[in-house]
Each structure stands twice: as C-alpha cells, then as structure tokens.
C-alpha cells in the first residue's frame, strides 16, 4: 500500500444477475459523487468500478460502461464490465473480479444500492486503524438489526451489500469461499475468517448506503426461492465449518419439519455434498469467533 493515502486505489466490485440498466445508472451517479468526495479528501487517489455479470445473457450493452463513465466522470476514473458466461454467484463473482488486479482498497457493493455522498469517505476513514480489516456501511432505510459496538463499531460480521476490505486482507484470506457459499453466508464466513486472522470487523455508522429493500405491509419480507435455498444451505455449511454440529442437527430437524420443497432441496444438496466430502473443514479457534444466536449469526438489537 502506498504510504501516501492520496495515491491509493479503491476498486469497487459489483456482481450483476439480470439487473436492470436503470438501476446501474442510479448506482453510478451516487458512486461517482461519493468517489469525488473521498478523492477530494485526499484519502484515495483513484476510484474505479468494475462490473461482473453472472446473468445467462449480458445484462447491459458493452458500450454502457463507457457511457456511464462519460456521463459521471467527476469521481470515477474507470468503469469496466466483464460478462462471466456462467452464474458464479456473488462470492465467485467477487473473487473473479479481484483476480489479477492490484489495488489498495476493495469495495464489495450490491447493484441495488446508492451510496450517500460521504459513504466512501466514511468507510475509508473507518478502515484507518491498522487492526481493522473489514468495514461495513450502515444500510438505509432499513438498518440491519445486528448488534455492533456504538463506540468502536465492532461487530460479529459485515454484510456483503457494501463491504470495504483491505486488498491484502482479501488476498490473505483467499477471498470469499465460493466453493461452499455461493450466495448466502459468504460474507459471514469471510468476516469470521478475518476475525480469526486477527482483523477487526466494524460498522461505519456515518457511511450510509441506500439498499433497495421494500417491506410488505404485513411485516412479511418477500423472499425469493433462491434466497431460501441458499440461506438454508449456507447455514448448514457455516455451522459445519465453525464447529457447531448441534446447529447442523437443529437446522436439519427444522427443515425436515418444514413443508418448503425449496428447503428440502437445500438439505438434499447438503447431504449429497457431505457424502462427497464437499463440505467445509473445521475452522480452528471456531468457538471464539462464531456466533449462532437465535437463528442469526450475531446478537440482534431488535
């Protein structure tokens, strides 16, 4: 990492899956303004945005990145796009985008977001203490209920909707575990491995990033099938790695009692992977890091 902060490169990585172009235009405008702010503050010298596409067919036109750059080039230095030709999931997509690229700071960012103008500035500032490896933005308008220290920002894990990581930490950890966590719990596992390696994971409360989530009136959050599937499978994988056979058994019992075919499919996949030895190996010191609290991976405030 350059000693002079103003020379640092911040690389923003976004993985797409059938996202609308309009949504990306919304994001690039916010991202460009936030990039300008963090550069003006002298905390980084360059911000580039790279899009990776896991869709069955390209979600955007090949010229769109340059059109976006031309329309918003006050903060972003570059916008590039890569069509994967396969669904790598969020974790695999992020790993692919990070391969072979050198930067100082890496921001994992969802496509359905809009950073506030000071978001990047606050994220980078929160990453300043040397022991901090990962910083998560505060989600608008629906704040994540996960508990974090209101003084230090320390928390159990950081959500991948908007997560800033030191590149060297990302490399040291080998990126996300895309072999076992395709869509869900990849961020939890990544955070816990970072903490196991001695890095702090913190929330930056002043780094506000809008995340396009919409509640329904009866308090039921509409969850698509693929999220149900991957959250179930992810939980089983996570409990396996982090030394909680009781959680594995509990989850299996709950899924078996559940009428959801999607959950049953996830359980079948887990059993098949277990038989084939394709489940995570036990993480050392898992007991000191992992938190399984009331079905969540951290204590929740509400």
């Amino acid at each position: 990492m350059p000693s002079d902060d103003s020379q640092r490169v911040l690389r923003v990585q976004t993985v797409l899956y059938r996202d609308e172009l309009k949504q990306l235009w919304r994001l690039v405008r916010g991202l460009d303004a936030a990039a300008r702010k963090v550069i003006d503050a002298g905390l980084v010298g360059r911000v580039e945005w790279v899009l990776g596409d896991s869709s069955p067919s390209p979600a955007i036109n090949a010229k769109d990145p340059q059109l976006m750059l031309a329309a918003t080039s006050t903060g972003l230095s570059d916008v590039t796009y890569e069509f994967f030709g396969a669904n790598l999931g969020s974790s695999g997509g992020q790993n692919r985008l990070a391969e072979g690229h050198s930067c100082d700071l890496l921001l994992v960012l969802n496509p359905d977001t809009y950073p506030s103008p000071t978001a990047l500035l606050e994220l980078v500032k929160a990453l300043d203490p040397p022991h901090v490896g990962i910083v998560e933005a505060r989600q608008l308008p629906l704040e994540h209920p996960r508990e974090y220290d209101l003084v230090t920002g320390e928390t159990s894990w950081a959500s991948g909707f908007c997560m800033l990581v030191r590149q060297k930490v990302f490399d040291e950890l080998g990126g996300f575990d895309d072999e076992h966590f395709l869509l869900h719990c990849d961020d939890v596992d990544f955070s816990w491995r970072a903490r196991a390696a001695g890095y702090g994971v913190v929330v930056a409360p002043y780094a506000a990033v809008f995340h396009d989530k919409r509640p329904s009136p009866n308090d039921a959050w509409p969850t698509p099938d693929h999220e149900v599937y991957h959250s179930t499978l992810g939980r089983l994988m996570l409990a396996k790695r982090w030394g909680r056979p009781d959680i594995v058994e509990e989850t299996i019992t709950l899924v078996e009692a559940d009428s959801s075919e999607v959950r049953h499919a996830a359980l079948d996949e887990f059993r098949a992977r277990s038989s084939a030895g394709r489940v995570p190996s036990l993480q050392s010191d898992s007991g000191k890091i992992a938190q399984f609290v009331d079905g969540e991976y951290a204590r929740h405030r509400f």
């Binding site: 608008l140 629906l142 209101l150 509640p215 308090d219």
Partner: protein
C-alpha cells in the same frame, strides 16, 4: 352605453336604479377607497355616471366632479343640481381617449371612475384598453372600478340547483353583458396594463339573489347551504362579495392571460414536488433523507428543501454544501429555500406557494423512504385524487455522548397504520403521517389550501383531513416510508408534551365539528358498522351493570344471612356461657350426679 336613471324617472324604459348614497354601500366603499388613496385634488371623471350619487361626497372631499354619460335625462338632472355633466358614448372606444382629454379641458385629473359600467360593455378588453389609453393621455391618474361579483355564494348555490334568476338590478341584472369573478377582473386588468393599487370590496352575506330564502341551497340551517358556504369560502375570499371595488394604476406591463378561467392552475411541469422540511440541525439525518430521494426509481420530480432556521448565515452554507455533494442529476433538482419565523407549518406553506408540479408530497428530514416512494405516488395519481401510502414506524433515540453514531435505532419496524384510508377514523385521530400522502396541486390552487400555522403540532393531520373532505383519497396499499419516533432528543414527538398533542387533537376535532361534513360513498357503511359496535358495547355494558346489580343484591342477601347467623351465634354463645356457668356452679357440682341418676331412672321407667 350604460344608463343609470333615477328610480323617479318614469319615462325610462330601462331598469330603475335607486343609487342614493350611503357609506355602507358600493358607492360608500368607492369614496372610502378614494380617501385611503389620499390623491392630490383635481377633477374626477365619473364615466357612466347616471344620476351621480357620489358627486356630493366627492365634492365635499375637495374634488371637481365631472359626470359623463350617454343618458341625456340623467345629465339633465345633474345640471339641475349644478353638477357638471357631459354626454359621451363610452361604446365608441376609438374616440374615447380623445374625447375625455377634450372634456378634461386641461384640468388636472385626479382619478377616473368606472362604477357599474364594465359589465354593461359587450367586449371587456377593448373597452378597458381604450380607458387605459385615455388614462395615459390624462396623465396616468388611477382608475377606480366597481363591478358586481357573479361568484357570490348565493349565485353559486342556486346555480347548483339549476337556477339562474335575472333581476332588473343586482348581481344578475338582466342588462349585464359580461360577468366577473375576482380572478377574471384581475386578469383583464393586468392584460390591459392596469396594476391594482387597492381594494375595498363591498360584502354582504345575503345578496339580492338570496331568494327564495327557504330554498335548501340558501336557508342558513340547511346542511346543503352550510356545505356550499364552506366550500365557497375555502375557494377564495369572495363568497360574500357583492361588488369588487378596486383601484388600478396604469402600468407598462401587459400580460396575456389564458382565455380559460383557470389561469393559476399549476401547469404540471413535473409529476411531483417533494417538500423536505429541515432546521439544518441534523445534517446527517438530512443527508440520509436526501440519499433516499436520490435513490428513487422514478426521478422526474423536484425537491423544495425548506430550511427553517433563525441562523441562516451558518446553516445555509452547510446545507448548500451538503446538497452539492450529491450527483448533479439529483442536486440540480433541489431548490434550497430559507424560511424564517413561524411554527412548523411555515416552511410547508412557503413551499405550497412555489409549486410547479402536478402533485406535492412532504418529507421531514428525520424520516426515510423506500426506493418506490415517488413511483407509488405518481403511479396512483390522477383524477384529482389524494394519494396515500403507508408508513412503518421505527423508534430511534439520540446517541449518548460517547457513542459514535448519528442516532440509535431502537426497534424493528412496526406496521400500525391501516392500509386503507378511513376518513371517519381520521376525524378521531391520525393514521397518515406527513410522509405518506401526496396532494394534487390543483386542489391546493382551487381552494388555496395551506397548513394551519397557528397549530403547534398536528398541522399535517389537520391539513390532510381538510383535503380529504374535498377530494377522493386513493390508497397505494404499499409501505413506502419509515416514520421515525424519537424516544429522546429533538423531535416534535419528544419536545412536546403528550398533553399538548391531546389538547390540539381535541381542538381540531371541535373545529371539524363546527362544519358540515360530506363523507364519501361507503362511509355510511362504516358509520353503521361503528354504530353496531357501539350498540354491542352498550349491550355488554348493560349486561355488566345488571350483573353488578345482581351481585350487589346477592351480596346484600349474604349480608342479611350473616347478620342472622350472627344473631344465632350470639344466642349460641349465650347458651354456652349459661351452660358453663351452670356446669361450674356449686349447685350443679353437688346436684349434678343425682340429677343424672334420676334422669337414668326416669328413662328406664319409660322403657319398663
């Protein structure tokens, strides 16, 4: 040319006007307005003067009165009273300016009067243009006009019921060729280069059109009449105006208003304006609220950022920088407006006066919205309907000094508000926070709607109910915003005592109760349902009361039994005491064994 003969003029075939002067009359108001203008003395040209009822009062004020009319008979009467009069056909507009200059004869003209004249002219604008030209030649004296108001509540009420009653004189004088509202008079004057200097309109609650007075549209106790009056009064201040009494100054500006009457209706440049209210004290909250707006899925809206602050030198630069930090496509749609003074409603009202969109929605800087907030309003808008979405509630608090957070979220979302708007329910309390409704700008224009600046709290509820009594409400049935309730710190919910909210609520309920109420279709069922529930509650209450009475009766009986038992107990006690005394007595101890033996002998004998 208008002719206003004396009522005594029996030869006249036209209407008979009795325009004797009185201060409490349109003529009196003209003289009063002239006095207020405090003009330099000179000649006053009274065009279409008729029998000149104001010649005397004006002469007494020191003006040289000059009557002008086409009616020779009227002029003859002027002459008999020693009043200067000239014959002139005002309808000859191409000659008007020159003829007036001629008859002024070099005198300084202090003012020109057009009292009950304009409405008799076949074409308003050419006539006023000719008058305007004459004013120019005469040295630009002010023009005073008196014009009947065809939009008086009596006329409006009767028209609803298909009645349009011409009369020999009055508001619907059968010789009127043109009809005027306040809006039209203003527009015509502006179009002819006449700028309003002052007004002293003549008003009467009951006009000459107030007949038959027992008609349900007119009868004061009638709910229909009351409702029409409320609506009419809400639209503009001229529901009781009989005559517009206005003074105009010639000016150079000539506007060309639309030929339609709705000249002030918003042109709808954008579908929506979002009014954001801030004091600038919570920049992080404001930034986050604006971030929510910048992230909307539908971005064809503009933002009026109303900065309500007594310290603009400090706050405005901060807010300006905060807005400029956003991407230009959003920042360019934000207009920052400083607002000084007043209570919570002042910035909202200043925003309402600046609308250039089809709809207006409101957002406080500590509330947040989902990405489809604007889109939902716009999609459901149209047909003059108020659009209502739903807010989730979240409790938040200010951080402790040691905590490095802008605020602390204390609860998950609560879904406490009804999905469907219920006007009857809203008469009791609010189910629609300010961030959950959008009002058509046209409705605001038509009724000149504003928030009540006198209210310390609940100004949004009062505004919404007033709107909802005038326009339909369409529900999106979507949760699109988060209404944040502060457990501590600065917010309306925490700064004001609960008592204040409750007292204001009661005041507003009383205020609504003072007015007739028109409910939308479907409300009857709601009321019936509520009455049925009330009847059920009454029945249960009656059952409870009866059960309580029965219990009381039973308790009384138990009490009586206890009393009786007490008596028996006392008797038993007495027997026991007597027994003890007897047993322990000397006599019993001596004779007792003998008595028991005698008793045994006695019983044995009985068996033998």
């Amino acid at each position: 040319m208008v002719s206003m003969p004396d009522i005594a003029s029996e030869q006249s075939t036209g209407p008979h006007y009795d325009f004797s002067f009185a201060w409490n009359s349109p003529y009196g108001h003209v003289v009063e307005l002239l006095k207020r203008l405090d003009l330099e003395r000179g000649a006053i040209l009274d065009l279409g003067c008729g029998v000149s009822p104001i010649a005397g009062p004006l002469s007494e004020l020191g003006y040289d009165y000059v009557g002008v009319d086409i009616d020779r008979e009227a002029l003859e009467r002027l002459s008999q009273h020693g009043i200067e009069g000239h014959e002139l056909d005002l309808g000859q507009t191409d000659e008007l300016a020159g003829r007036l200059l001629e008859l002024a004869g070099g005198r300084r003209v202090a003012a020109v009067l057009l009292l009950d004249v304009i409405e008799h002219m076949p074409e308003t604008r050419p006539f006023l243009a000719a008058v305007r030209e004459a004013l120019e030649l005469l040295g630009r004296p002010p023009l005073l006009v008196s014009v009947p108001n065809v939009t008086h509540a009596d006329v409006a009420a009767k028209l609803i019921f298909g009645k349009w009653d011409y009369t020999p004189t009055g508001l619907l004088d059968r010789t009127h060729l043109q009809f005027f509202s306040g809006e039209r008079l203003d527009a015509e004057a502006r179009a002819c280069g006449l700028l309003e200097l002052g007004a002293h309109d003549f008003k009467l609650r009951d006009s000459d059109q107030h007949f038959p007075s027992d008609h349900p549209a007119l009868s004061a106790p009638s709910p229909i009449a009351q409702t029409i009056r409320v609506w009419r009064d809400a639209a503009d201040p001229h529901g009781e105006t009989i005559q517009f009494i206005r003074a105009f100054a010639p000016c150079d500006v000539q506007e060309q208003p639309s030929e339609t009457s709705s000249t002030n209706v918003a042109t709808g440049q954008r579908p929506l304006t979002v009014v954001v209210r801030t004091q600038g004290k919570r920049p992080t909250n404001l930034r986050e609220a604006l971030t929510c707006l910048a992230a909307q899925t539908f971005d064809d809206f503009d933002v009026l950022l109303m900065v309500h602050s007594s310290d603009p030198e400090v706050v405005l630069p901060l807010v300006t920088t905060l807005v400029e930090d956003f991407d230009q496509t959003f920042a360019s749609r934000v207009e920052i407006v400083h607002v000084a003074g007043g209570r919570r409603a002042r910035p909202l009202n200043e925003a309402l006066a600046r609308l250039h969109s089809d709809y207006v929605a409101f957002l406080d800087d500590d509330d947040m919205v989902m990405a489809n907030w604007v889109e939902s309003f716009v999609d459901a808008g149209g047909d003059g309907a108020i659009v209502r979405s739903v807010a989730a509630v979240r409790h938040v608090s200010a951080p402790l000094e040691s905590q490095r957070v802008p605020f602390v979220v204390q609860s998950s979302l609560e879904f406490r508000y009804d999905l469907d708007f219920d006007l009857v329910h809203h008469l009791w309390g609010n189910e629609t926070p300010i961030c959950t409704f959008a009002v058509p700008s046209h409705l605001i224009e038509v009724f000149d709607l504003r928030f009540d600046e006198g209210l310390p709290v609940l100004e949004d509820w009062e505004f919404l109910v007033r709107c909802a009594l005038l326009a339909p409400v369409r529900d999106t049935r979507k949760v699109t915003s988060i209404y944040q309730m502060w457990l501590a710190g600065e917010s309306s919910a925490s700064l004001h005592e609960v008592e204040l909210w409750q007292a204001t609520q009661r005041v507003l309920q009383d205020r609504t109760n003072q007015r007739p109420l028109v409910l939308p279709a479907g409300a009857s069922d709601r009321l019936v349902e509520m009455c049925e529930q009330l009847a059920e509650v009454d029945k249960v209450r009656g059952d409870v009361l009866r059960a309580r009475e029965e219990t009381q009766l039973q308790a009384e009986k138990v009490g009586e039994l206890v009393d009786e038992l007490d008596v028996v107990w006392k008797e038993l006690e007495k027997v026991r005491r007597d027994y003890t005394v007897t047993i322990n007595s000397r006599r019993w101890r001596v004779l007792g064994p003998l008595a028991r033996a005698a008793s045994i002998v006695h019983r044995l004998r009985h068996f033998l």
